[in-house]
């Protein structure tokens, strides 16, 4: 039987996997996928709370809708930036970016 803690743990795991992707991957696209997982974890969290703790809190549903929109736009902008950089320097690896000192 699925209950609130199961959802929360699943979301926490998703967040952790996404964070691992962000920190451990060197390809910009893979890092972006990590970020998507982290945002997905936030949405899963809200949906879980909405289902089990606060079924009447409609504002939570809107929160999830806004998150979804944000996620889609973020991915679109991210791909645009990566493509623009790739056209120029033929790489999407973060480790190849060392013009700026960091």
């Amino acid at each position: 039987m699925i209950s609130l803690p199961v959802v929360l743990v699943a979301a926490g795991l998703m967040f952790a996997i996404g964070l691992y992707g962000v920190l451990g991957q060197t390809n910009t696209i893979m890092v972006m996928m990590g970020v998507e997982l982290m945002l997905g974890a936030a949405m899963l969290n809200v949906v879980g709370f909405l289902r089990y703790s606060w079924p009447d809190a409609t504002s939570g549903a809107f929160f999830v809708l806004i998150l979804m929109t944000l996620m889609a736009v973020e991915a679109a902008v991210g791909f645009a930036l990566v493509i623009s950089a790739f056209r120029h320097s033929r790489t999407a690896e973060i480790d190849d970016m060392h013009e700026l000192k960091g």
Partner: protein, 499 residues
């Protein structure tokens, strides 16, 4: 009536919301400005796209004027079912965002004239300002997340504007990754706030969090501060700042160092007071520690910089630390918010002035190294006057605006029982003396670096938009300092509505 209710109730709420649109005129001006700018880019030929810049700057100024008009005519109010708060703080910040945004457009115009995507740039900048205004007005977790996300996305694109430059591409990708990751942290924290409180309204969240399990509250609050702290370039969320400023066009660096930063700090002040009233989870001390860290790391890192844009990037991190003193003092002292608002105005003036000089120097000498500033006083006296005024004001020398602002922040800090923070800030001011003077002294004392003795002294400042920015920011830096009294009284009125 957040959930459920009858049809009649829904209708009366809808009517009320329509009436409340009158409080949203500044947002309306920026929205219209941005959308029309996008349409104009499709219609106008490339050599006429400067008109879009004028249009976007007009929209910014209109938003600022409307913010004042709303305040005088309609007063403050929490509208749209308490989702949007239109109060002294948000209206003052809106006016500041409008005017600073228009100045940044003026700064960008000479550098961008004739480039491929000039019109889109102004449209993007207007969208960024729109999101910044939404950010300072947000009183709901969903709107807060949306505003942070939209502000980030428009600034990522602006950073990568120079598509043929590897540095610009690299800066935008680094900024993008850092921005989206910290945004994800914040949204995950907000999802926990929703879970603990059962609502996305920040004030109602605040009522619930006081009785919620403290461990969860502290952890989720830390995540939310992460997201807002990155916007305001606080240490330890500051790593993107020097790279993004360095790779971006100078005008974009000027924009990012003022608008998203001040909006992020104002939002931090509002979110913390609404969602964590009465110092829930002891955030005031945490913010004070962050302030001390931010100013120290920023100032120490700035010491070693030879690139003036990177130097100003670290200087702006240090300035965030000073501004954060105001946020930390909000609970303990009634002067905290007023000091924050006054210093925000002073900071916008002096930092835009500093970046305007850098933009002018980069335009003429093709470099932003400290050596490029050598002998500036011999060739360009007016640039040097503005450089000296804005750097001394950033340093905090009387009678300039930065001095009064710092004094108010120190007083607020001591009043709030955080005297140690004031001491740290004074020590930091002394450290910052070194690197601010390191730029001023070659500009004033040295002879020009290269063999260009033929360059005559010129009292004419060109191009005109940069001259306007230089003039306005210099006058504001001096005037805000000399006429501090009325401005401080205004800042005291810029209070927050508690909901």
């Amino acid at each position: 009536m957040p959930n459920g209710g009858t049809l009649e109730q829904a209708k009366s709420i809808e009517e009320m919301m329509l009436r409340e649109l009158a409080w949203l005129w500044p947002i309306g001006a920026l929205t219209l400005g941005a959308i029309v700018a996008v349409l104009l880019t499709m219609v106008l030929p490339r050599h006429r796209q400067g008109l879009i810049g004028a249009w976007a700057a007009g929209a910014h100024v209109t938003a600022a004027v409307l913010a004042v008009a709303v305040w005088l005519d309609r007063g403050v109010r929490a509208i749209m079912e308490q989702t949007v708060i239109v109060d002294g703080l948000s209206l003052t910040m809106t006016a500041l965002i409008g005017i600073s945004g228009a100045l940044c457009i003026a700064l960008a115009r000479p550098a961008l004239a004739g480039t491929e995507r000039e019109g889109e740039f102004y449209a993007m900048l207007t969208f960024a300002s729109l999101s910044a205004v939404m950010l300072v007005m947000a009183a709901d977790a969903a709107l807060l997340g949306l505003a942070i996300g939209a502000l980030g996305l428009s600034t990522f694109v602006m950073t990568g504007y120079l598509r043929r430059s590897t540095r610009s591409n690299e800066a935008s990708i680094k900024y993008y990754i850092f921005g989206t990751v910290s945004g994800a942290f914040m949204l995950y924290g907000l999802s926990w706030w929703f879970g603990l409180a059962g609502t996305t309204n920040l004030r109602l969240i605040g009522e619930q969090l006081q009785s919620a399990p403290q461990g969860y509250v502290i952890a989720s609050t830390a995540l939310v501060i992460f997201g807002l702290g990155y916007k305001a370039a606080l240490v330890p969320f500051h790593f993107w700042t020097p790279d993004a400023y360095d790779g971006a066009p100078v005008s974009v660096a000027a924009y990012m160092s003022v608008l998203p930063k001040l909006a992020g700090l104002a939002a931090l002040a509002r979110v913390l007071t609404l969602a964590l009233p009465e110092d829930t989870a002891g955030w005031a001390t945490a913010i004070a520690v962050l302030a001390a860290l931010t100013m120290t790391v920023g100032n120490v890192a700035a010491l070693a910089q030879r690139n003036v844009v990177r130097l100003l990037a670290y200087s702006s991190i240090a300035q965030s630390g000073y501004l954060l003193m105001g946020v930390a003092a909000i609970n303990g002292s009634d002067q905290g918010l007023a000091a924050l608002v006054y210093y925000a105005m002073a900071y916008a003036a002096m930092n835009l002035g500093a970046f305007a000089v850098v933009a002018a120097v980069q335009r003429e000498r093709r470099s932003v190294d400290i050596d490029a500033f050598k002998g500036l006083g011999r060739t360009h006296p007016w640039w040097t006057v503005v450089l000296v005024l804005s750097f001394l004001s950033l340093l905090g020398l009387p009678p300039l605006a930065g001095f009064v602002g710092k004094l108010e922040l120190f007083k607020a800090s001591i009043d709030a029982g955080q005297s140690w923070l004031a001491v740290v800030a004074v020590v930091n001011t002394v450290i910052s003396l070194y690197y601010y003077l390191r730029v001023i002294s070659p500009a004033v004392l040295d002879a020009p670096a290269e063999a260009e003795p033929g360059v005559p002294r010129t009292w004419v400042v060109r191009p005109t938009p940069i001259a306007v920015v230089l003039g306005l920011t210099a006058v504001a830096t001096v005037a805000f300092g000399l006429a501090a009294e009325p401005l401080l009284r205004l800042a005291e009125k810029a209070t927050m509505l508690s909901g």
